[in-house]
Amino acid sequence: MDNKYDEWQQQLVKCIRCGTCRSVCPVFQASDNENTTARGKVKLLEAVSEGKLALTPELQTRMSKCLLCKACVTGCPSGVKTDELFLSARRVLAAANGLPLAKRLAFTGLTYRRLFDLGLRTGAVFQNIVFKDAPDGIGKMARVSLPGAGLSQRRIIPPLATVPLRARLPETSRVVSPQARVAFYTGCMLNYVYPAAGEAIVKLLKAHNVEVVLPSRQSCCGTPAFTAGDYRVGRYLAEENVKILAAGNYDAVITGCASCGAALKHEYGFIIEDPELKKAWQLLAGKVQDITQFIADTGIKQDLRAVKAKITYHDPCHLVRGMGVAKEPRQLLAAIPGAEFVEMKDAAKCCGAGGTFSMTYYDVARTINDWKLDNAAATGAAILATGCSACRMHIADGLGQRRSPMQVVHTAEIMARAYGLE
């Protein structure tokens, strides 16, 4: 444990406490409390490393009040790697204090891929017992409050797919004369919640003459587990995925969900410990590309149909700061004839979802989301495109609560529409 703190200190000492992170942190802006800023948390970890503060549950609560949106990482003039620090702290705290039972069960479930799969499929059938349809058919609302699952009665969540994505499509989708062969890493949300977006991604790839493999034995990317500090489960999943994806001979590994992409491309680097697997991961990481990046790099096919709509775009944190993808989705959207692309204010600001954050701190998450919705509404757009299923779910919830007619779609879905692939 001691050398763990030595590692921390190299980062901690860099913080010049300038407070720049106050000006970028959405949680701070919503709650006006220094214990949510990067420098506040850096200071807390410094106190821990100096033996002035114990690994208390109170500290754990404070470390959990973070979206891991990386705005502070990008904004920090001293280059403090706060994202790595906070993940590491959550890990140490989870080891010291444990995790809430509901989370523990869920994460353990994630490691049993088949059980998880079955659970979510049965979920699709049984969900109507627990959830009722929200007004206007926009999704589901909890019938009873499920605090353990982090679902307040107000929250509108999308229904689970009756048939998940990977069961809808063949493991390999062939094209006539393939220019490339890629693996599509679907992750959980595209597989179980937004299969239509997953299908759009496959169609888009095929339209660009790319052979698509959906490795059937892929697991959850592990983000929910390791961001909560559960490294045992997180590492297991990371290693499983690396093994499976490294075994195939792919030109690229395509992701359609920002969090999965950032995990595969970066976060695995400090989760995987086995040196052999780490080497395999390094090779793999270089091949991970978001779908919009892949299409933009390949060259957008030009025979598009008109989509007459005003479109705006929300940058998911893990796409813009995690994977460095910002211009590509815009290039794609701007290429659609007839569509008018309008940039919203603070497009790259977090939408407040932050994985399990929005479950634990729903009210703060809503406040942050409301800023996003206001900025989106100000553009007058009818469609909001984005590249992360978690953002999509949270934004859709907000729009639903407001009874807004704005539609949220995956960037690939609207592209597929423009290609006439629906």
Partner: protein, 458 residues
């Protein structure tokens, strides 16, 4: 601290605005300086009445109260060195009025500087004070520190824009000092007493601030010098000749090299100094001013002058200045930033003294700053975990203060005295001046409730 005080504070403000857990007190134990002292309790009042009640309560129990804006201070003003109450003012964050006709704004103390500047801009006017911390700092903190910035040479500093203040005095009474009229003065300018008083004389809750016309255009230039003396002479020469630029920033050779190492933007690493100059005004005056600037630069030996013609070009020129902070962070993590200020004409002498000091104590130092004001920012780059080095830093800082005073300057151009420079304040004020300062403090705050350990109460 007695539990009773915390209970009463909770009754006063509501539980969620009073924090006494160690985890939270630690988060309010520091500012942008490098020492920490946790307060016993953190409170967040939502109105001037609540502020007054807290201060009164603190008086009853004889507990120190330290005001806190955004804690970006560089002299340690908001660090509660004697414990007690950390009084956080960020909930007082309303921009009450921007009165364009009378060119005055009414704002609460906790408003973030940049939010205010943006609102003023939107109303078609201009609030010039521009500390580099504007994205984060509060108006109250700016007033309490009398913050300056690059524009100070032409537009002045925070004190030049304060017309009146609402202040909670150490006994918990509320007063208005000054008023919102630009040309009215009833009695002495005692509102000014609180400007730069670092929270030791009263808590500012509301301010009446002067606004001015927005300049229509600006032009940015970068001049490169082989000799520091030439650069400094350009500064004094240009101003003496009647051209007062909006900004006149200097970077010394070590700063240029550090930034170049970081940015790889093709900066002139052989140059002994560069000046970043901006002029503003209307379209006609701006070209005349730019010509004057170029003439002065050529006359005093600039080897090269770059002129930005588009906003993008101008951003490019500013990039180097803005990259100083991260560039320094890359060299060494702990950045001790001073703001010793000397008369403009003494800049070369001061830079030479600073270089000698850095060499003597074997420290890495970059020097840049607001040359137009003679306000230099020598930054010592060290590592706070290296105790030996930190001792040398302390000695060097002491010598640096002496050097500034020797050259007819001051300990602080804009960051204030706080706890950091309090031990040296006497050097500047003299015994008599210091005693007068102490008397003033004792008259306004006989109990010594407000921010003990700072300024005259070290």
């Amino acid at each position: 601290m007695e539990q009773q005080v915390i209970t009463e504070l909770k009754q006063l403000l509501g539980r969620q605005y009073v924090m006494d857990r160690l985890e939270d007190r630690i988060c309010y134990s520091f500012d942008a300086t490098f020492r920490d002292f946790p307060p016993d309790v953190v409170v967040k009042p939502g109105s001037v009445e609540e502020v007054a009640a807290i201060v009164k309560l603190a008086g009853q129990y004889n507990i120190p109260v330290t005001a806190r804006g955004a804690a970006t201070g560089l002299s340690g003003g908001s660090v509660p060195v004697r414990g007690g109450i950390s009084l956080v003012l960020t909930r007082l964050n309303r921009i009450i009025e921007i009165d364009a006709a009378n060119r005055v704004a009414v704002v609460e103390a906790g408003v973030i500087t940049e939010d205010f500047v943006n609102a003023v801009n939107k109303a078609g006017l201009f609030y010039p004070p521009d500390p580099a911390s504007a994205k984060t700092s509060t108006i109250g903190g700016n007033i309490a520190e009398c913050a300056g910035g690059p524009r100070g040479v032409k537009y002045g500093i925070t004190r030049d824009y304060v017309l009146g203040l609402e202040v909670v005095l150490p006994d918990g009474s509320i007063i208005e000092a000054g008023n919102r009229f630009d040309s009215e003065m009833a009695g002495p300018d005692w509102g000014m007493l609180f400007v730069g008083s670092e929270g030791t004389l009263g808590i500012v809750t509301k301010a009446y601030l002067r606004l001015v016309d927005k300049p229509q255009a600006k032009q940015t230039l970068l001049a490169i010098f082989n000799s520091l003396d030439d650069a400094a002479r350009t500064v004094s020469g240009m101003i003496a000749a009647g051209t007062i630029p909006t900004t006149l920033e200097i970077m010394d050779n070590q700063t240029i090299c550090a930034v170049e190492d970081y940015l790889q933007a093709g900066l002139p690493v052989k140059a002994e100094a560069i000046l970043l100059i901006e002029v503003d005004g209307n379209a006609v005056s701006i070209s005349t001013q730019a010509e004057h600037v170029m003439k002065a630069c050529r006359q005093w030996g600039a080897t090269e002058i770059q002129v930005a013609s588009t906003p993008a070009d101008s951003d490019k020129l500013w990039r180097a200045r803005k990259a100083i902070s991260p560039a320094c962070g890359k060299i060494n993590p702990t950045k001790i930033s001073e703001d010793a200020t000397v008369p403009r004409s003494q800049i070369p002498a001061m830079v030479r003294r600073l270089r000698e000091i850095a060499q003597k104590y074997d420290l890495k130092m970059v020097i840049f700053g607001h040359a137009g004001d003679g306000n230099l920012h020598p930054n010592i780059l060290s590592n706070k975990h290296n105790h030996q080095e930190m001792e040398r830093v302390e000695q060097a800082v002491e010598e640096l203060f002496k050097a500034a005073l020797d050259l007819g300057g001051t300990l602080s151009g804009e960051h204030g005295i706080g706890y950091m420079k309090a031990p040296f304040l006497k050097w500047e004020t003299g015994e008599t001046g210091f005693a007068a300062g102490q008397k003033l403090k004792a008259a306004v705050d006989p109990q010594g409730v407000l921010n003990p350990g700072k300024l005259f109460t070290a």
